[in-house]
């Protein structure tokens, strides 16, 4: 074969181009993001192509994990400094604990156009430790009351904007028709610190209870917890669907959407699901009210924010920060509004989200906003408390303690033990665990 200078030149150019391309590919930093499978996160994954177009030097690598697996993986990875992830999807509970341990990068020196003041103060404070922000909020939720307007109208009932639990029980009793497969009240019953205990704790707060007194002594045998526990078990037994002790968020969502619940108290994030005609049979008749209160409205509605944090072990901190800033920015909210409609903008984090156009498109937004503005994780009970957190207590021991107490409440609900016995057992086990953990510290 004859080698001509032209062929040589062509080969050299091709080789150089290939090497340049290879170097360019190598130069792109890969940011690995650990996230959960919910609609807002999946949407972010889809729309993040726009980010990659804007930042050709950053490549995004998504790792979608089941929520409990995500917590376990992240805890293992952070505790052993594995450095597998650059961006973590975490809640307020983890942010508080991990931030205090310096396991997360502080969110300092954010660009001016990020507009930190636009974030709701309750959300910003919930993601801060001693004034330092450790994660940026992607979306936040409170708890609200969902009800069937058609059933209320037929029964001549009116749902107040801010109902009490006593009123909820009265309505549930009037609308409960098990023979028609229609149940008065749907509440979480599945045991777990993030399942039934999220609901039960806000209910207990509304009845004036608290998890611990100022000396970290649990108060389950006090009159407030007794009243709340009796209310929860009695009404869910009388007016709840069969097998309520195994119902979590998803199960109750399915029950409500298929028209089997007259009233449901749960996360505000369900608002868009209940109004989505492709998955709800009652989309046209859903009403929204505030989370029920009773003797107090302090801590009666929860606050939770799925947020994006950067582990201290990340090898691509700057690129990760660029992405986190983009994903929680006003620009991202605008992108969602343009692509998927304004009703799908991640809720609960920014004041600017709640424009009139958004309020019109998302009828549940007004109630959610009121609850979010009202939430105060530093003062979750009418009585003084030594902890932070509304539906949880921001201490590392809470996951285990909360789940253990949750199992006792589920046992009371199924009739395995009387309410009083469950409360006494909760008191004993919690006091034992707290003593073992060395409280008061």
């Amino acid at each position: 074969m004859k080698t001509t200078p032209k062929a040589l030149l062509l080969s050299a150019v091709t080789l150089s181009a290939g090497m340049a391309f290879a170097l360019a590919v190598q130069a792109a930093e890969t940011v690995t993001i650990a996230t959960v499978n919910n609609s807002d996160m999946i949407r972010m994954q889809r729309l993040s192509k726009a980010f990659e177009d804007q930042h050709p030097d950053i490549k995004l690598n998504w790792v979608v994990l089941e929520e409990n697996v995500l917590r376990q993986r992240l805890t293992t990875d952070i505790a052993t400094q594995g450095g597998q992830f650059d961006v973590l999807t975490i809640g307020m509970y983890e942010t508080g604990l991990w931030g205090a341990q310096n396991w997360l990068e502080p969110m300092k020196d954010l660009p001016a156009n990020y507009d930190l003041e636009d974030l709701f103060p309750s959300v910003r404070e919930g993601l801060s430790v001693k004034g330092t922000l450790y994660a940026l909020p992607f979306y936040a939720e409170s708890s609200i009351t969902y009800y069937r307007k058609d059933l209320f109208q037929q029964a001549g009932l009116t749902m107040p904007a801010q109902p009490t639990w006593t009123q909820i029980a009265e309505f549930a009793g009037k609308l409960n028709q098990p023979d028609k497969d229609q149940y008065g009240l749907c509440l979480r019953g599945k045991a777990g610190w993030g399942e039934n205990m999220a609901l039960v704790t806000t209910m207990a707060n509304a009845f004036g209870a608290r998890w611990f007194d100022e000396k970290w002594q649990p108060e389950f045998t006090g009159p407030e917890w007794t009243a709340a526990a009796n209310y929860y078990v009695d009404n869910l037994k009388k007016y709840g669907p069969p097998g309520a002790s195994s119902n979590g968020f998803n199960e109750n969502l399915a029950l409500f959407n298929s028209g089997k619940c007259a009233i449901w108290v749960d996360a505000s994030v369900a608002g868009s699901f209940t109004m989505d005609k492709s998955q709800s049979k009652v989309a046209d008749s859903v009403g929204f009210a505030g989370s029920p209160h009773e003797v107090t409205d302090k801590g009666s509605s929860w606050l939770y924010a799925w947020s994006l944090g950067i582990p201290a072990t990340s090898k691509h901190k700057d690129a990760a920060k660029t992405f986190v800033t983009w994903a929680t920015s006003k620009d991202y909210a605008k992108l969602v509004a343009d692509k998927d409609g304004i009703a799908n903008v991640p809720p609960g984090t920014r004041k600017s989200t709640y424009s009139q156009a958004y309020m019109d498109a998302a009828p549940f937004a007004k109630v959610s906003l009121e609850m979010l503005q009202h939430a105060d994780p530093a003062h979750p009970s009418a009585k003084p408390v030594p902890y932070v957190g509304i539906q949880y207590v921001t201490i590392p021991e809470f996951q285990a303690i909360g789940t253990s107490v949750g199992k006792l409440f589920a046992a009371a609900l199924t009739g395995q033990m009387p309410v009083q016995q469950a409360l006494q057992a909760a008191q004993q086990s919690t006091a034992r665990e707290m003593k073992r953990a060395g409280y008061p510290k």
Partner: protein, 277 residues
């Protein structure tokens, strides 16, 4: 009054029915998973459960759009076959030694090997995670191949040992008299005789590796994540997901199920054609 012949026929019929009943009972969850994968999320959550509905391919299309199925499937294939071959490579000489050159500690050694299976996996998660981190093997296929080999080795050794024990020593002695070396003894005599047993051990090891979830979820993130990690990613804390989860589970089970069906005939033939079985 039934005659002896009629009584035997009835007995055989009843036993046949019982076998069918057990088979249906075992198969029902798989059937329900496949059925659910063609439902909408609302139909999947409906009570009472629906047997008749308008089928949809929506869930499969969503999975195709959202995940790179073949990346996860390739990882599953490489890891499962890699771990199975490596464990066989280690187990064959070990089982040969234990079966044909037994000492008074052989039984104790076998029991000790099996006892490692009794340790809860989570108990050694942190040490293994730290070791993997130290050797920079996190999220690599090599790590999962090594871990799965170690997990399955006791069972593989036990099974191969049991098959080898059924082979009379006389056959090997005859080969030895003909001048065969230990290597030739194993490769030319022992392996062809016990190929049915080795094949079924291999299949069991493959299935165990394919279905393993704890280690794959904890030691991989994206590069080496197998199909079990893909399944877990479709579980959702907020929103309905049963139909999509069933579809992705069907896709994850399909390759190993098909492989099992294809190799079933060969396995049975291998077992029944054994020289001394």
């Amino acid at each position: 009054m039934l005659t002896l012949k009629q009584s035997r026929r009835l007995q055989s019929l009843l036993l046949g029915l019982l076998a069918w009943l057990v088979a249906l009972l075992l198969f029902f969850p798989i059937f329900w998973m496949v059925l659910t994968s063609f439902k909408t999320e609302i139909d999947a959550f409906a009570t009472p459960p629906q047997f008749f509905f308008l089928p949809t391919l929506e869930n499969y299309l969503t999975i195709q759009a959202r995940s790179d199925y073949f990346h996860f499937a390739l990882n599953s294939v490489v890891i499962s076959f890699g771990a199975t071959l490596l464990s066989l490579l280690l187990a064959l000489p070990a089982a040969y030694s234990m079966a044909f050159h037994e000492t008074r500690n052989t039984q104790r050694l076998l029991l000790w090997m099996l006892s490692t299976k009794m340790l809860p996996a989570v108990g050694v998660l942190v040490p293994i995670y730290l070791l993997a981190k130290q050797f920079e093997l996190l999220d690599s296929r090599l790590l999962l191949i090594a871990v799965y080999t170690l997990i399955n080795l006791p069972i593989v050794v036990w099974m191969v040992y049991t098959y080898f024990k059924d082979i009379p020593k006389d056959i090997l002695e005859a080969a030895r008299l003909d001048g065969a070396t230990t290597y030739q003894e194993i490769v030319r005599v022992l392996l062809p005789i016990s190929k049915g047993g080795i094949a079924s051990t291999m299949l069991l090891s493959l299935i165990l590796c394919w279905n393993e979830a704890f280690w794959s979820l904890n030691l991989t993130s994206s590069n080496a994540a197998p199909l079990t990690a893909l399944i877990a990613s479709y579980s959702s804390p907020q929103g309905l997901f049963w139909a999509k989860l069933s579809a992705v589970s069907t896709l994850a089970c399909a390759p190993i199920l098909i492989f099992g069906w294809i190799s079933q005939k060969q396995l049975v033939r291998g077992l029944s054609f054994g020289a001394v079985k």
